[in-house]
């Protein structure tokens, strides 16, 4: 466990309310967003996040500290969200979704010539120069909005890998997908998000 996590955990176990408040502030939005990939119903997602916090509070003393704190909480959330999805009659099978999203979605953002070269040069994003912070903020908003429109399995892997920075093995275990599923989903999602960012980055 990272030193920072260990310090937070010690404070939480000692009943430090400020530490718990900080944790809630830092993680609540991310948990809600993650729950949204399992459950389309906003109220269900909110309930699952509440249940997750309760499980975190009661589980603090049995948590081994082996996984990083955020990954442990994400795992609890994923389990509860899956159970809830079954109860709502909306079973989530990311493995099946992965295959469906890979098959249904022949996303070709860039054109290639017959010889495999780029049809057009790849131009650096004018909006993302250090001098243009406003453009940078706009790019952030564009990518965040595009993330919300990704198919569920792609959104889930991007959230866990790129936003949360979880390792591949933990993500595969959380979503019950194979490493191959993960790579295909991640590739499609990042390709699509880059294409969206590219349109914004080179907008006149």
């Amino acid at each position: 466990m990272a030193g920072e996590d260990a310090a937070v955990l010690a404070r939480l176990r000692a009943g430090d309310q400020a530490a718990f408040r900080e944790l809630v502030r830092a993680r609540h939005g991310a948990l809600l967003r993650l729950a949204g990939t399992f459950l389309r119903n906003r109220a269900s997602a909110e309930e699952v996040v509440q249940d997750t916090w309760l499980a975190v509070i009661t589980g603090l003393h049995s948590y081994s500290g082996e996984a990083p704190l955020a990954a442990w909480i994400n795992g609890i959330l994923a389990n509860k969200a899956k159970t809830r999805a079954v109860r709502d009659g909306r079973m989530v099978n990311f493995s099946a979704l992965a295959q469906a999203e890979a098959a249904d979605d022949p996303f070709e953002p860039e054109r290639f010539l017959a010889d495999g070269h780029w049809a057009n040069p790849i131009r650096p994003w004018a909006a993302m120069t250090p001098e243009r912070e406003a453009g940078d903020r706009e790019m952030l908003a564009v990518v965040a909005a595009a993330l919300e429109t990704l198919p569920p399995a792609q959104r889930a892997v991007v959230l866990l890998r790129d936003v949360e920075g979880m390792d591949s093995a933990s993500i595969c275990a959380t979503l019950e997908i194979t490493e191959a599923n993960l790579r295909v989903l991640l590739h499609r999602a990042r390709t699509r998000l880059r294409a969206v960012a590219n349109s914004a980055g080179n907008a006149p």
Partner: protein, 78 residues
Amino acid sequence: MLTCEQVAAQATDYMEATAPLPRRLGIWAHLRICPNCREYLRQLAQTIGLLQRSPTPPPDTATEDALVALFAAQPKRD
């Protein structure tokens, strides 16, 4: 020599270091001579950077207070 299309198709495997070594070397060699693919991979990395910095909204005060109250109500252990 790999084509740009092949490099683009394997960009994630390359960046995640999951591609086998010979393939990674092939991509690396292509990137040395291809400014378009270099820029393409740079943009993928920039996209990930944007995702990492994308803010999540904090909970509203009522939710936050209710959760802290729940935490405070837990019996203490040592």
